[in-house]
Amino acid sequence: MSASADLARAFLADWDPATTRLESLRARYDAGLAWVSRPEGVGGLGASRDDQREVDGIFAAAGFPDNNAAANGIGLGMAAPTIFAVGTDEQKQRLLRPLWTGEEIWCQLFSEPGAGSDLANIATRATRTDGGWIVSGQKVWTSNAHNAVRALLVARTDPDLPKHEGLTYFAMNMLDPGVEVRPLRQLTGEAEFNEVFLTDVFVPDEDLLGSVNDGWRVAMTTLASERVSIGNSDADIEEAMVDVVERTWRSAPQRTRDVMQDRFLRLWVDARVADLTAARMKQQLAAGRPGPEGSALKVTFARLAQELSGLELELLGADGLGYGDWAMVRPTAVVFTGRDAGYRYLRAKGNSIEGGTTEILLNIIAEKVLGLPPEHRPDKGMAWKDSPR
């Protein structure tokens, strides 16, 4: 029983279940019981990371309202670590409490039509003005933009520097009148993402995160946490694709199974071995030896999700020719299970694109792990404004 757990029990002993949800969450934050390993005064106790699960369990068991983490994945998973890493004390005080309680949903304004794999090619401009910055440009592939009140924004502050060097990181207010959010419909019919158009959005100096022109470094920290979580997410959050397809397999006609046996078993073996590889990566992380396996797992799981979902439609025959619904809805989360096979097939195509394309991840493995030479980059070292695009 940890000291954190004792504090949690003591807190709950005093807690009146009639308190509103929001007041309850704020009180828990103020008691340092939000993220216990973070420092005191900003939702934590400076305790061990290991205590968190125990504390969460105690609150859940007591029927304490939760902060609906799933609705604010970017806030909790990317914005909070970034603010902890580079934020000022004032920013931590101001931004982290509403973030953790879910009062302020965050989104991430990184990708642009001209800056996909080449993320550093961001063209959204932030120009100096009195007491802050004026931001204009277009962002794309923004999940949750239509719910968010805050954004992690990367914008170009100095086009005379090489592309990686003139970028700056901001915590932008999404409610500014210059922000227009448009749903971006995908091949599944749904609009999971948005396009975000920024027209003369004012960002005050107090919302600058880190230093001017140091945005690339900060963004890389943010993205590293994302990639580890993507490579690894299937196993934790929902049923794995292979389990879904294994169920379809068992109910397919024997004749179909006979002719597809070797093909299905190859994928099944690959998927089970991928699980072992993921398990081994977690053991390495736990042993304090982080490796490059996160990128590798993302490549593998993307391929498997695509091949398995493709095979599943073939197994289904006539049923595979149907499709649940093409209506343009706005899902709250991407869940493969519980949807029809056609959705799985189409949505899985994005697995090798979002959060780093397979091609970029293979480059990373080749260069960082194997030490092979980098790609030829004609724009290397050039001022961004002069570089070929």
Binding site: S111, G116, S117, D118, N121, V140, W141, L184, R185, Q186, L187, G189, T256, D258, V259, M260, R263, Q306, G310, L313, E314, L316, G317, A318, D319, G320, L321, G322, Y323, G324, D325, W326, M328, G342, Y345, L346, K349, G350, S352, I353, E354, T357, T358, E359, L362, E375, H376, R377, P378, D379, K380, S387, P388, R389
Partner: protein
Amino acid sequence: MTGDLLYSETEDALRESVRALLAANCPSDRVASMYDGDESLARDLWGAVSVAMELPAIGLPESLGGSGASAREVAVVMEELGRVVAPIPFLTSSVIAQRSLGHCGETDLLKAMADGSHVCALAVPFSSFGRTRGESVSVSGGRVTGSVAAVAGAGHADVILVPGLDGGDLTLQAVDAADAHVTRRSSLDMSRPVCDLTFESSPAREIARGQDADDAVSSGLLMGSAMLASEQVGVAEWCLETTVAYVKQRNQFGRPIGSFQAVKHRLARLWISVNSARAAARNAAVLVEPGDVPAKVAVALAQSYCSDVAVLAAEECVQLHGGIGMTWEHPTHLYLKRAKADQLALGTPAHYRARLAALNSL
């Protein structure tokens, strides 16, 4: 020996006319709007191809009001229809149903189809492989009762050809579409949606029975499979060309993404596959007519190969377009859905490989 696998001058000319007609009449945004329930393109385009080129009857003998085109020529039309994912019942009515009816000598119905005013559909699941046993429909006293799921081309059909069992005999029955319950299904490929059909004592006219009915269905499906391979070549070709054009103009890291060797090699391999698929599809078109064992081998070979190439081409098209290929706005998704549905249609490649093993004692 191998037949002539090249395109003749007549075929080149036919392709040119069809392509021009489709370019003018089948814009991809209107295909996309079919997914949102606007089916106007389906009717408009069918009208256009009927009036301008009499395409619905291209394969019928001249004596029945058709153009007497060979399977080779019909295959060229299929390639072009695939290139624009045309939402018309050419494959289901003008290829499969016409072939089945032709086998039964149903000249009156065929004549009625010649000007495109009558559309026909064979009531088998679109995923059917080679034949049907008709066990989900029973026939008695000139009436049919039962149901068939996932039928393609039934949405705008006037006449449904229904395989059904009369006692132990397979029969083929012509049913007026107005006498059937036709339920549209939300389909993976809305440019060729499938319908569930139900018959409740629907009045029917028998057009074949026993071996004859079996042969009529099989020969329709065999011809359909052969022609489907050419559609798949058209789909694959559009995907390859569109991707090549995109990677030349899309820059990242200060270079066209088409200058990255991994991208180049993937597209070179895809080109090799598409080029090979063309040879396989042409071979099927050349050999399919007699419906004999060489025809079956050629069709099975083409379906084993072309189905997967079309899917691969569409998948590579999505991947190499990056995010834009995932959007509704870009036409690539229409090809991905068509390619995947085509892979399931008329039997999967795995089924055709198993058939090849049987046909060749492998």
